[in-house]
């Protein structure tokens, strides 16, 4: 039996065999490929189907389709919800972490004075570095001096009055 005519369309015999179930797997694949794009053959096929008794699905499709649509919608919404929650948790975590660092008394305090770095005695070539230098004023001392100067000239900060 010829499945396709010279124009490459399904023959009437092929459509009849498809309905009767006498086509093998390769022939059914070829027919499906053709029906998937050929408007003319699809019109002929649906016309044939409209003239014959159609098969009843084992289970009604309406309920199954509705359930599948609901599940997919929930998956989409749930997916979005999970992403939003994860983003919120990350944002809160970052915010609270930053607050802990920025607002804690230890963080607000002035930096401690660094211990002086001295060269080991055994290093002769560093002797020059051990010579007394004019020590830089420690930061804390400078800060306190500045505060005293401000207080003496302005009589203290406004909010303390």
């Amino acid at each position: 039996m010829e499945l396709f005519n010279e124009k490459g369309c399904l023959t009437n015999e092929a459509l009849a065999a498809l309905q009767e179930g006498t086509l093998d797997e390769l022939a059914r694949l070829e027919a499906a490929e053709h029906l998937a794009y050929c408007d003319r053959c699809m019109d002929r096929y649906t016309l044939l189907l409209s003239q014959t008794a159609l098969e009843q699905p084992p289970k009604p499709l309406g309920k199954a389709v509705r359930q599948s649509l609901w599940v997919r919608a929930m998956q989409t919404r749930l997916g979005r919800g999970v992403v939003a929650c994860a983003a919120a948790v990350m944002a809160i975590g970052l915010w609270s972490g930053a607050n802990t660092l920025m607002l804690s008394p230890a963080a607000r305090a002035l930096p401690p004075e660094r211990p002086a770095i001295t060269a080991p005695d055994s290093c002769e070539f560093l002797e020059a570095a051990k010579q007394p230098r004019s020590p830089a004023a420690p930061v804390r001392a400078v800060w306190e001096q500045a505060l005293q100067t401000i207080q003496s000239t302005t009589g203290g900060f406004d909010h303390e009055k």
Partner: protein, 175 residues
Amino acid sequence: MNAAQFESFVEQYEKLVYTVCWQLVRDRELAQDLSQETFLSAWRSIERCPEGHESQWLARIAANKAKDHLRSAWNRRVSLSADGSTPGQDVPDTAPGPEALLANRDGAKEVEQLILALREPYKTPCTLCLLQGKSPGEAARLCGRPPGTLSAQLSRGRKILQQQILERRARDGTV
């Protein structure tokens, strides 16, 4: 179309869609699953459904679903099985391809004859691509077939040709 209207649409066409799937795959359970997939796809693009041609539109989606299933099942079987019960299944990878034979003068005439004697839907893609040197995309445009379908048909046609060449060689005692 809202969900309630779509449900009545499903009820109206479920027999048609199931029959198309059943006639193409010949498996009740699979046909049920493919029918369900058909309606889910239909729901996603319901606005593209042409008025007055609902049955053709749904049957087209169902045929596409069945085609995808049959094609993947066929490809799986061809790659796993080598019992030779179906065309192209027992062709070893080392067998000479039609392109290789077309390149030499002795084989070219023989392969040309084999291609022209192929049945549809393989004759047109093989003629355009193997004899006329068209690309699969160009050939698909020329014969009005989707590119994926043409590539699949070209691949199966090539396998059929390879098997015919091997059979001819074995008959002539040249292999």
